[in-house]
Symmetry: C2
Subunit: 403 residues, 2 copies
């Protein structure tokens, strides 16, 4: 049986007209395949549910997930009503009906297992299975949600479970771009990008796909196509390294303004100090990203600078204040006016001089580099937030992406 997975995001389902428009793409697909459709909530609906909850308490219980899961129930029901009216045999599947089993981490659950019997059985009669994205069912039989962007992960997990070769992710952009087009007018749609590049892009600020969905696609070797729900045109294919012939040195430039910088000064330069800081942060479940350590001129004290998501800054400061007496630092400075700018590309592995080029162009533009982190396929620098757009445009140009 030929099965295709098609996922539509919230902006592609914003109104009844959008839902009808998206349905037409599904109707076309039913000519050749059985179709598993995964839907997000209609744009704005999850935010308004979050706001209702926040009037009462924070979003931290299984009961929040019960409330948040209603958005996809509505979009799925409405689309199925339309498809059935058009004579397409479709039925809805909530995550608990599929079932999509997850662990018990409400609000950020992870998918563990998707038995495929029920939907396969339904394909004897139905041509379309419309599945609520973003959610699952825990072992204690309560609804879980997968975290923001979780519908991407649902879609890829369904593709994996049902051995679909390709998972189409319909969204409000034409694909993955070499940089954000609103900042770099010359940015171009990328035709092919590897899982590794996409992972770096996603985790470095490109908001096209949820990171976990890309990890999952890589693990099960599923081709993801990111494409527009509004125009009829091929999008960006996220593929295995082998499938991509030409390996650009740099495929794209991304940035994130959601970073915060913390500097702990006047630490005694002795073993175990860094372990004290980062151990305590890790215990509090705070993810630290870039780390820079300096020794003062007199050689007696050290400074540690690190970055973390802005949303975790307050918690991190609390943790550090608590251990101040134990690790003996003099001062704690924080800065939220920073940005992380990154160049990503598989070709970096075999090319020298990529970093040098970056440092040179930023120097020429008088942009100070506050921290650096690298991997095999990316270089990231932390800079003053005011220079973000300038840096992105300069890098886009220096790596030949403007052409």
């Amino acid at each position: 049986m030929n099965i295709r997975v098609m996922k539509f995001g919230g902006t592609s389902l914003a109104t009844i007209d959008h839902i009808i428009f998206a349905s037409k793409k599904i109707i076309n697909m039913t000519r050749n395949s059985k179709v598993i459709v995964v839907l997000s909530a209609m744009a704005g609906s999850t935010n308004s549910l979050v706001n209702q909850i926040k009037k009462i308490n924070t979003l931290d219980s299984s009961e929040s997930d019960l409330v948040l899961a209603t958005g996809e129930q509505i979009s799925c029901g409405l689309m199925s009503i339309y498809l059935n009216k058009e004579g397409i045999k479709s039925r809805t599947w909530t995550a608990w009906q599929v079932p999509i089993y997850t662990n018990n981490e409400y609000g950020k659950a992870r998918i563990e297992n998707i038995p495929k019997e029920n939907i396969l059985e339904s394909f004897k009669y139905y041509d379309v299975a419309i599945v609520t994205g973003f959610q699952g069912i825990s072992k204690e039989n309560k609804i879980t949600t997968l975290g923001r962007g979780g519908s991407d992960t649902t879609a890829v997990a369904m593709a994996a479970a049902f051995h679909a070769e390709q998972c189409d992710i319909f969204t409000d952009v034409e694909g993955v771009f070499t940089a954000n087009p609103s900042i770099v007018p010359n940015a171009k749609k990328i035709d092919y990008i590897t899982y590794e590049e996409m992972l770096e892009m996603a985790s470095l600020g490109a908001k096209v796909l949820q990171t976990r969905s890309v990890e999952l696609a890589m693990k099960y070797n599923i081709t993801i196509q990111v494409l527009s729900s509004q125009i009829d045109k091929e999008g960006t294919f996220v593929v295995n390294d082998n499938k991509k012939m030409e390996k650009e040195v740099v495929s794209g430039i991304s940035f994130s303004k959601d970073e915060a910088k913390v500097t702990v000064s006047g630490l005694l330069d002795k073993p175990g100090v860094s372990a004290g800081i980062f151990g305590s942060l890790a215990e509090a479940n705070i993810n630290v990203d870039m780390i820079v350590q300096n020794i003062s001129q007199d050689g007696k004290t050290a400074n540690v600078t690190f970055t973390l998501p802005q949303s975790e800054l307050k918690k991190a400061v609390e943790v550090l204040e608590k251990i101040k007496n134990k690790i003996n630092f003099q001062s704690l400075k924080t800065d939220e006016k920073v940005a992380k700018v990154s160049a990503i590309g598989m070709g970096m592995r075999s090319q020298a001089g990529v970093a040098t080029k970056m440092f040179r162009v930023l120097g020429e533009k008088n942009i100070n580099i506050q921290a650096i982190s690298t991997s095999e396929i990316k270089i990231s620098v932390l800079i003053d937030q005011d220079y973000t757009e300038l840096a992105v445009r300069s890098l886009h140009s220096i790596y030949g992406l403007d052409i």
Copy 2:
């Protein structure tokens, strides 16, 4: 284990403030009992979902029920978040988690069975079980809804399943009144009313309780208290005949403007003609209420007049046009400007002259009676809709309810 069932309607949950206010009544109740709370959707939310669906198609599939069932998921989740924040151990139960098994009649499903093991087990740890009203789960594992007002039925069914002695239905009025107070300023709250009287009132237009919930309460002998969620005061107790000492001749006056009248004229007066008309209507699932048959002066032809809900008038006319040749009638007239006004009371059974009083007072006010129907405990008349309020006030007065 002492279990109490408390049901809150949509107007009692209209905003977060309403939900918090309702929660306080639940917190009080947890001092003496385990509490099963049954909630409707927040006021307005079901209507707005219905409107979304109607932009696409009619409300007639299981997919509509999936959409409509989201309203109660939200109100239940929000209330549980508040109760837990206040330190009350509560958890939500969707109908499929309880489970509340129904038949497969989507949109108007009937509850068939409620296993109580899951909630009873949860009461070892939790004090409050918050259950989504208005819905259930079908044998094919899809969400069903019970029809408008279905949360009342959920509440009484839970009371029956868990052997609760009383089911409190919180609403936006203080109880059941002798007539609609907006029409009859002298209308008074009734302290005790029998199931039979309440059933007649509900089916004759009083919108306080869903008819099926009263039938269920009568079957399982569960006392329903209808009371205000806004003030702290006893409401109306709906009880077994035995529990009500004084039996007023007439307990209340109700009316309905949702009726339509159909007159089929020029029928041949021979056996089987009425059967032809009403048999065809019954086959089309149309409920006919009052029926009057007249023979014309020449004795050769007959007229049949009957009433039915306005919502079914169009369908009824189609059915009759289709059989016109078979049953040979001359003309078909319809009238939606009618109202049914009823007097209800257990005491009627042992009192003569109740009907006479009604006909006399209506005659004095020059109100023409177009049809009459009676049961042991009610008399209904069909009149011109313009006279509804006058008729209700006159009857309220003549039966001594003004005092």
